[in-house]
Structure formats: C-alpha cells, structure tokens
Amino acid sequence: MKPTVNVLYLPGTNCQEETLAAFAAVGATPRLRFAADLLAGDERLDDADILCIPGGFSFGDHLGAGAVAGALLRSHLADQFETCRTRPLLGICNGFQIAVRGGCFGNVGLKVNTSGTFRNEENQRHVVDEENDSPWLAGLGGQTLVFPCAHGEGRFHPGSEGASYRVALRYEKESNPDGSFADVAGITSLDGLSFGLMDHPERAVDPEVRLAFFENGVRAVR
C-alpha cells in the first residue's frame, strides 16, 4: 500500500504540480484536496498519511501572506488540521506561511524580506541542521542543498516566547536572501513532524536534491 499524501489546493495555489510530481516520484500516492470540497464536507484534510501545503499565493496573499488560508485552518478545518499535525506535515513557501499561521511552530513569524520585495535566486544554498532528528531530514544533516528561492515574505522571526520550533535549514553564510534571523531557512516543530521552509526543493534541477525531503517524509510513514 503506497503512503497517501493530501496536497491542499487553495485558490491561488500554484506549485501543486511539481509538488505532486515529487511525492509521486518517491512512491507515494498524492492527491489534491480542494478547498471547496473541504468546506462542503465532501472531502477531508486528515484522511492521508501526510499533509502537504504547497507554494503559491493562496487567496492572492490578500490580507497578508497565508492569512485567509490560516483563518480557514483555524476555523472550519480546525479539528482536521489538528489531526494532520500528529502526522508528517510539510509546508513549502506559502504553505510554510500558512502552517505558521495555523500554529504549527508556536509564535514565530515570517515577515517581509529585508529587501522589501520578492527575491528570486535560482541557486540558493542551504545547509541542513545536524542536530535536528526530524524524519524529514533523516540522513541529510550537514549537507548543502541547492534549490531555488522565490518569495517576498520569508524573513524568519523567532518570536518572543520560548522556542517551540527547531532549526532545520540555514542559508549558507553570506547568502541569506530574506534577512532571516540567524540565517534560518526552515524549521520543524519540536516533535519534528511538521516541517516548513520558504524555498523550493521540488523545483531543484538536481533530482536527488529535488526529492530528498519528500523521500524522507514518505519513508517515515511506510
């Protein structure tokens, strides 16, 4: 039985196809979950082994990046989303912003880039944290992975409360594209199940890099 992945598809999501392709390539059965079907109760968010919230501009980034989708996850879909958080959950770019607003990582924030605008870097370098034992990062600690950066609101802010996240990735020294605190490029929840990152491994030119995180996530639920 192949592991199943629900990929949340909201109005404005635009990275769903490369995300579906990445999960399919590592042996999972990914399927889109449409917001309209979820709201109507025709489908569920929590009936898969993994939840992925892909990149894009959900609801046009209106009212703030991920704000409307975050409100959706905290209101109509709150119970289902809570269930999803007990399993591997991946938020990429806008999906990371949504997961943050959904409460996956405590009181952290993703703010406007230091440059004040969107940054596109085709070959952004990321170093995987060696201490984090999240299943998403298994076997990758210390490695430098090159994949694209493309976001306008990704400046990681750790918040003022006690840390309720663990660092997963850092931008390589001197290459921080968004001004993130301590070069943080991605984090996991304390239990390691939820993983969020602003940049896009699913677009990497190198197929091994492209699939590394996805392979780990799927392996964890086999």
């Binding site: 109005p11 635009n14 501009f57 209106h62 596109n120 802010h157």
Partner: protein, 925 residues
C-alpha cells in the same frame, strides 16, 4: 454598516519596505499602514469585529485599531470607488469563515510623517489621480459597492441624417466611427427595415471596426497580415499546427504535445498607469494562451518594456514619468507573474526617448497543450455561452466616454488586473478540456464581451442576455456591459450535455460561472437585456429557440451585414539611409573608458534589481536561464524548459529587438533582428526548421513615411519567412505609436519585436554560455556587421545616423549550416548583442570569474554588434578545425585572472564593473 480596521506595525517599528521608502524620501519618521474598510450586512457585534481584527492582525509585531479616523498629518491613498478592490472578495471570504456577513471591502494605504513634504512626495510618487483618490481627512462612505444603474438603450434613426449629422453621431460619446462606417450602419438599419438603431449597435460596431479589433490600418495598406500568412503557408513547415487564426500560434512539440506562443502589447494603458497597464498586459497574454485551441497551460512568460529616459519628465502634464513607470512596471510584472505561477523566461527594460509619451509594453507567453486540442474549437448551435471569472465593471471603456458617465455611475478608465481570478480558472480550464466539456473558448480582452461573443459566435450565430452578466455594480447599461474590459474573464461554448459537469468543475475551483446565452443556427449576432429571463430558465429552454421574451433588444443583425470594406491606400518603397560612419581609432585608456560607458548602459548592464523579483523557477521545469554565472548572475541569451513530465525535450525561447536600429532603418533592422534571433536558436542547438517566430509591430501613425516603413518591414519579414522556412505563427500590430504631447507629436520608431520559439528532442544538447576552462580560446564567429549605427558604443560616440549593414541571406545560410555542423567543437557560446564583443566578454568575465587575454583590440573589433554572430569558446587544438563558413576571428584566450587584458592593461576597470552592477538600479530605484 462600514467599519475601518487599521493594521500597522506595533510600536511604530517600520518594516523593511517602509524603512526603504523612508530612506528614499529622506523621512526618518515615515509610517505606512493599511486601512481595511469592510461593509457588513447589518451591524456586527463587538466580538465579531474583534475576530475580524484578529485575522487582519495575525502577524508578529502588528497591531490593529478599529474605526480610528485618519490622523492629522496623515495622507491616505485609496482606489476610487469604480476601481474594484481586488482584496474585497478575500475580505468577504474571511468574514464568512468567521460567521460574519460582509458585502464589500476596500483597502487604502496611509502615510504619516511630521514632514511638510509628505503630501507632495505621496502625490508625486505614490498617487495616480486617474484611478485613485487622496484623503487628508477620514473619508465618509455610504457604501463600498460600486454604483451603477441601468439606462435604456439610446435610439437613433439614421435614415434621414445627412453626412454632417452622421459624422457627428459617429464621434459622439467617445466613439470613433468614421463617416464611411456610419454610412454602413445606416445601410444596416435600412436593410433590417428597423425604425432605429441603438447605441448598443453603434458601440459594438465602433469596437468591431476599430484598429485594435479589425486591424484597419494593416488592411488599408494592402492586407499586410495576409502577406505574412501567405508566406508562412508557402513554407509549409510541418511543425505549424495553427497560425494567426487563434489567440496564439501553435507549434508541434514532441510525443503528441504542442506549444502555443503569443505576445501582445498594452502600450496606451501603460502610459496612464504603469502598474495596471503592465499588470493587464501580462494577464492578457496569459489569458490568450489559456484561450488557445481548447486551452493551453502557460509554461513561461516574457516581457519587454521600453520607456523614456528615467531622468526626463513626462511629456504630458499629469502623466507618470519614466522613472515611476519603471517602478510600477516591476511591481506589476512581479505581482502578476509570480502570483499566476508561470516562470519568467526573459525580462528587459530599455530607455529610449521615443517611448517617453507611450511606452512599448510587451508581454509574451508560451503554453503547453495536446496536439489533439491544438485547433480552435467551433461552437455548435445549442451550446451554452458561459462566462467565467471576474465580475464585469464599468472600466476600460474608451476613456473619454467612461469619464462622462455621470456622478451616479462609478467608472475606471483603465483595466484593473486581478491575478487571483485567473489562477483559479487556469487549471479548471485544463480539467474542462480533459473532460470534453468545451466546444470552444476564447478570452474576454479588448472590446470585452462584444469582441469575444461576436467573434466566437460568427461560426453559426449567437444570442446573449446581458442582464445575466454578473456585475461589480448594481446595474449597467447594455452597451457598457458589452464593452467593459474588466479583466480575468473567459467565454466558453459548453454543449448542453456537459453543462452540469462543467459547472461542478468550475465550482470546485471556486470559479464564478454564468450561462448568459446560446449559440444558434441563425448566422446572427443578437444581444438583448431581459432581467426576468433567469439563468435557470435559459438552461431549461429549448436549445434551438431564441427566447420569446427578450426585454430590450440591443441589436439582432446578420453577421454578413457587419463586414465593412476598408479603403486601400497605395504606398511606395520606404526611403533608405546611406553612408556608414567610421569607428574612431582609440587607445587602451579610451577603450577602457568606452567599455565602462557601454557596460553601464541599460542595454548591457545588469537589471538584477528588476528581474531578481520575478520567479523564474516555478513549475520546476526551467532547464536553462534566464540567468547564468557562478560569480555574478548574468542574463542568458535564451531560455530553455522541459515542460513535459519525464521527457528531456526542451522548448527554447529567445527574442530580438533594438529600437535604435529601427530608428536608423526599419527594414534593415527587421532583417538583422530576424537573423539574429534565428542564429541565436541555432547557436543554442535548435535546427532551423524547428524554429518559428511571433511578431509584434509597434509603429507610429503620424510620423513621416510611417506607411512606407510599415509595408517595407512586413514585406521584408515575408521574404525572410520564405527564405529560411521559419514561419511567423502569431503576432499583433499596434499602429498608434504617435502621441500629441505638451512638446508636440512624439512618435516611436517603426519597429517589430520578434520572439522565437524552438524545440530540441533532448536538453543535454543545448549549448551554455558559461566559460569552462582557462587556456581555451575565444573566437568570434558569424557575419560581420561593423556599422556603429544602432550600437550602444555608437550612441556613446555620437555615431547615430547612417546605414545599417546589409546582410546577404546566402551568407546567413552558410553560417547557420556551418554552425549546426560544428557545434561539437564548441565548449560554450554567447550570442553577440548589445555592447558587441566587448559586452559578451565583460559578461563572460563577470559570470565565470575567468579573464581574457586579448590578441588585439580596436573600437570596431570590440564594440561593433555582429548580431548574427557569437563569441564561442573552443580548445586551442580545435581552433583550426572551425570551418571557414563560420568566419572565425580569434578574440583572445581565457586566463586565470578576471579581467579583459590588452597588452597588460585591464580594460575592465572596477568602475566599469560597478557600472554594470549598479547603474540600472541607480537610474530607476
């Protein structure tokens, strides 16, 4: 009940974008925040307001105040009421999620500073009076819903009118119908035997016969489009699947897939609002791709913008200057392209004084679709006319008449883009196509529903009920519904048996859809307004009967009566310049100085400030471009992507345009640009027969010899198509490039922008530009075009007038054949473009960190732009194996350093590097 929510940084701590703005304005205390106005149904309780405030303020270090009036010293900028706020729907959605009913929303931006300069700074750089209003005090709104009302159609009996009265009526209310056209309308009335014609018919024909829709200028000069089409037909390239009769051209790809290509311009709107003009140019061309065949999926976009010099004021008082247009362009391209989710393949901005009154705002896209869906669909009688996407508002309607609509009808004279709407129906269209729910579709663009319904219905006949069109306002007159250029709408022909399935798919994607009429076996174009004919009744009605009750009829006319002859104008050959100026003899220091000027010119300099804001990797299919370089990010000469999952086959895109060459000699420039684009494709690795092109003409209509130049360029292109077998499969003509300004008439040069699309079966065969190893030899290959006219260095040296080089096509043939045959000798290759060999060398150094030891150098050898040529890298052993047909000339040797060395002198000075890196940003940011 309207409530206001002000969302700002807590404790006055400015976010980086606001700090940056404050720095540029020299206002250390600048605060900037957003005000959300929400019109609720009834009176929400305090708990509901608190919930809404909590969502709006759901970010670290943000605070929300409710109903706090505008503070003294603050300046607020908001869209006028007719300009529907794109965030309104999301505000309503959030309220609904919270269980609060809202009717409309509106977003405003407030600036605050103690400085008395604040208001002037906002007005001069952040305010567009055409679409926005400025508030020094809290605005008082009765409602946030745009207002409008239905007015019965005006009626005109043309039968007794003389020429003077006809001519006057043709120009009334912002229309532009000529006397000849009005006489034809008179003929229509007489033929129909009607007592009158309506303003709906006059407006519909005004649009139908406009240059934009009917290409009257091109027709009057001798069916120019058909000259290009005939040339392509003569070539009979088997890759052509569809050309010029759909929203985009379609080119065969591999394994049952096809590629669509289209580019279009939004020059007029971009002169008024750089933001909305550029936003809708990209949105419009992406919609063209979506509306090609039975729908293609956009896989890449490109854009080109030519503006006046950023340092110069706008030549029309009140219009934004080039510097502001540049900033608005970048913001618009970023917001539309990134939000839509299509990789930017190429972007470029040019500063040329001829574009100071009306920019050249070109947007392009390519898309992927199955060969089986490549042909334009045909509606069948009985199919439903289904309108999907955004609401229809009172916007984009021939300017002057929109502004005279009266105080109770909210208007906007430019189109407003809303990318979210288009993202939503993008994948829905693909699903509709795959499920067989579409007989045909088209986008709703210029001239609105009138153009879309009128064109798609021509196959059999069509009727629509404008009362069913979902509006932004309470109501609108029939002709305004028909002519509105509200964006993000598509028109579908859906067979009755698929209507229910189609509706389900659209609902699932949260796409608004409405059945507004039916295709009919009548051969007639029929528009009426019947508010009591509901969508349900329409769907339940007989497929082959027009409803008996039609309310008010706008018109009901046979298509045969809508055609009109265009008067033919004869033109002679264009004048051709003569005499080629000579390059001056320059010493090393002078060459270095000239190199600094050349690489600092916007044609060569890094435009990283702009293109680093455009997502180039979304979809995960970008294989090469739009930048390369391990040391610096340098623009590539072409883009390649692998759009089919699991396949190594690549689409290759490049472009060619140089307005200074078109200044000098439009016909010779056309030849050079065509050959340059083609040679660039072949250098990349594409076979000549696998290349097609898209043309976008932008020509003046009030400058001397404009007709001759236009016809000359078209004939030249037709000849090039026939010679090389490279067809043009899509194109657009904009023939309104002259503008009356405060300083007189300003005209753009007669010019054509060429976009080339090629294909290769495997991406690994594509040649890259990055230099590979010190010790290898750089060789210039290709045709020699040494004239300084039209070159960057020529401009710097004042060598701007004279002839361009004439290319012999047989020489181009020889070169392309030799290039294709000897690609195995090439380690890397960079097309020669702006800045000539020197430009290629400088960018090679910057990209690779490797230096060049020059054999020798002169102004001509370094700065002549041999556009049908390249600088290639070969191993020392292979230099002698390069065929003579490549015309190889050794330039120098790659060296471990990082300079351009001539007899011990580094021509590439630190100042030149700084100029390449920063000059563009310094001019516009």
């Amino acid at each position: 009940m309207i409530h206001k929510f002000s969302v700002r940084s807590a404790g006055g701590t400015a976010e980086p974008d606001i700090r940056e703005l404050g720095r540029s304005w020299e206002l250390d205390d600048l605060q900037l925040w957003r005000d959300y106005y929400v019109e609720f149904d009834g009176t929400p309780d305090p708990a509901a307001l608190a919930q809404v405030a909590a969502v709006l303020g759901d970010q670290l270090d943000v605070e929300v105040s409710v109903d706090q009036p505008l503070e003294p010293g603050a300046v607020q900028v908001a869209y006028k009421r007719g300009v529907v706020d794109n965030e309104s729907d999301s505000i309503i959605t959030v309220c609904a999620l919270l269980g609060v009913k809202a009717r409309a929303g509106k977003v405003a931006t407030t600036y605050r500073s103690e400085s008395p300069r604040l208001r002037d700074l906002v007005v001069s750089t952040r305010f567009n009076a055409t679409i926005e209003e400025l508030h020094d005090e809290e605005p008082q709104y009765d409602t946030l819903v745009p207002q409008g009302h239905y007015e019965s159609a005006a009626r005109y009996d043309l039968r007794g009118l003389d020429d003077t009265a006809l001519a006057e009526l043709g120009k009334a209310d912002g229309r532009n119908l000529s006397l000849a056209q009005m006489k034809h309308v008179q003929h229509v009335q007489v033929t129909l035997g009607d007592e009158f014609v309506t303003d709906v018919l006059l407006e519909a024909l005004d649009a139908r016969w406009s240059d934009h829709c009917a290409h009257t200028t091109w027709k009057s000069l001798g069916s120019l489009l058909s000259r290009l089409v005939r040339a392509a037909e003569d070539v009979a390239n088997p890759n052509v699947l569809s050309m010029f009769h759909d929203n985009a051209g379609v080119w065969d790809f591999y394994d049952g897939h096809a590629l669509a290509i289209k580019a279009e311009t939004h020059n007029g709107p971009s002169a008024i609002s750089g933001y909305f003009g550029q936003l809708t140019k990209l949105g419009g061309v992406l919609r063209d791709i979506l509306g090609t065949g039975l729908s293609a999926d956009p896989i890449g976009s490109f854009e080109y913008t030519a503006l006046g010099e950023p340092e110069a004021p706008a030549p029309i008082k009140g219009r934004p200057d080039a510097r502001r247009l540049a900033g608005e362009t970048i913001r618009a391209i970023k917001e539309y392209g990134n939000t839509f989710g299509v990789p930017m393949m190429s972007s470029r901005m040019t500063f040329h004084p001829a574009y100071r009154a009306k920019p050249f705002a070109l947007g392009g896209s390519i898309g992927l679709l199955p060969v089986s869906a490549a042909q334009r669909g045909t509606p069948r009688p009985g199919d439903f006319v289904v309108l999907i996407g955004g609401l229809t508002g009172n916007e984009g309607i021939h300017g002057a008449s929109a502004s005279s609509a009266g105080a109770t009808m909210d208007t906007a004279s430019v189109q407003i883009g809303a990318p979210l709407e288009q993202v939503k129906f993008r994948k829905a269209l693909i699903e509709l196509r795959e499920e067989g729910c579409l007989s045909a579709l088209t986008d709703v663009g210029g001239a609105g529903l009138n153009s879309a319904v009128g064109e798609i219905g021509e196959a059999c006949g069509v009727w629509i009920n404008t009362a069913l069109v979902p509006l932004k306002t309470a109501a609108l007159p029939m002709w305004r519904i028909l002519l509105s250029e509200s964006q993000e709408r598509m028109l579908l022909a859906v067979p009755p048996e698929h209507q229910e399935r189609a509706k389900k798919i659209l609902d699932r994607h949260m796409v608004r859809s409405t059945v507004i009429g039916r295709f009919a076996d009548t051969g007639r174009y029929h528009v009426f307004h019947a508010p009591d004919l509901t969508e349900e009744a329409l769907i339940a009605g007989s497929p082959d009967e027009v409803p008996a009750h039609q309310g008010e009829v706008g018109f009901d006319v046979s298509y045969e009566l809508l055609d009109i002859e265009v008067e033919r104008q004869e033109v002679g050959p264009p004048p051709r310049p003569s005499g080629v100026p000579s390059w001056p003899a320059l010493g090393s220091a002078e060459l270095a100085g000239l190199l600094e000027q050349v690489v600092s010119d916007a044609e060569v300099a890094s435009q990283h400030h702009a293109d680093s804001q455009y997502d180039s990797t979304v979809q995960g299919n970008t294989w090469y471009g739009p930048h390369y370089g391990t040391e610096h990010s340098v623009r590539t000469a072409y883009w390649a992507g692998t759009p089919v999952a699991g396949s190594p086959a690549a689409a290759v895109v490049n472009t060619a345009f140089n307005p200074w060459m078109f200044d000098a000699d439009p016909v010779a420039a056309t030849r050079q640009m065509f050959c340059a684009a083609l040679a660039g494709q072949v250098l990349a690795g594409v076979a000549v027969q696998d290349v097609c092109m898209c043309d976008n003409f932008y020509t003046p209509h009030l400058s001397e010899n404009w007709r001759e130049w236009l016809v000359g360029m078209v004939d030249e292109l037709a000849g090039l198509v026939r010679h090389f077998g490279v067809p043009l499969i899509s194109g657009k003509d904009s023939s309104a490039g002259s503008v009356h300004t405060d300083e007189g008439i300003v005209s753009v040069p007669p010019a054509v922008f060429l976009s080339a699309l090629g294909k290769v079966p495997h991406r690994d065969g594509l040649l890259r530009e990055q230099w590979t190893a010190p010790g290898n030899v750089l060789v210039r290959i290709g045709l020699s075009t040494p004239s300084p006219v039209g070159t960057v260095a020529g401009r710097k040296l004042g060598l701007t007038t004279g002839a361009l080089d004439d290319l012999a096509l047989s020489d181009v043939d020889s070169y392309l054949a030799a290039l294709a045959a000897s690609r195995n000798l090439l380690r890397s290759g960079a097309r020669i473009g702006a800045g000539g060999v020197a430009g290629a060398l400088a960018q090679g150094v910057l990209a690779s960190g490797t230096g060049v030891l020059l054999e020798s150098a002169s102004a001509e050898s370094l700065f002549a732009e041999h556009r049908v040529g390249a600088v290639v890298e070969v191993s020392p052993d292979d230099v002698g194996r390069l065929p003579a047909e490549l015309n190889p000339v050794v330039v120098g040797t790659l060296s471990p350093g990082a300079g351009i060395l001539l007899e011990g002198t580094d021509l590439f000075t630190p100042a030149a590097r700084d100029g390449w890196l920063n000059s563009f940003t310094a001019r516009i940011a």
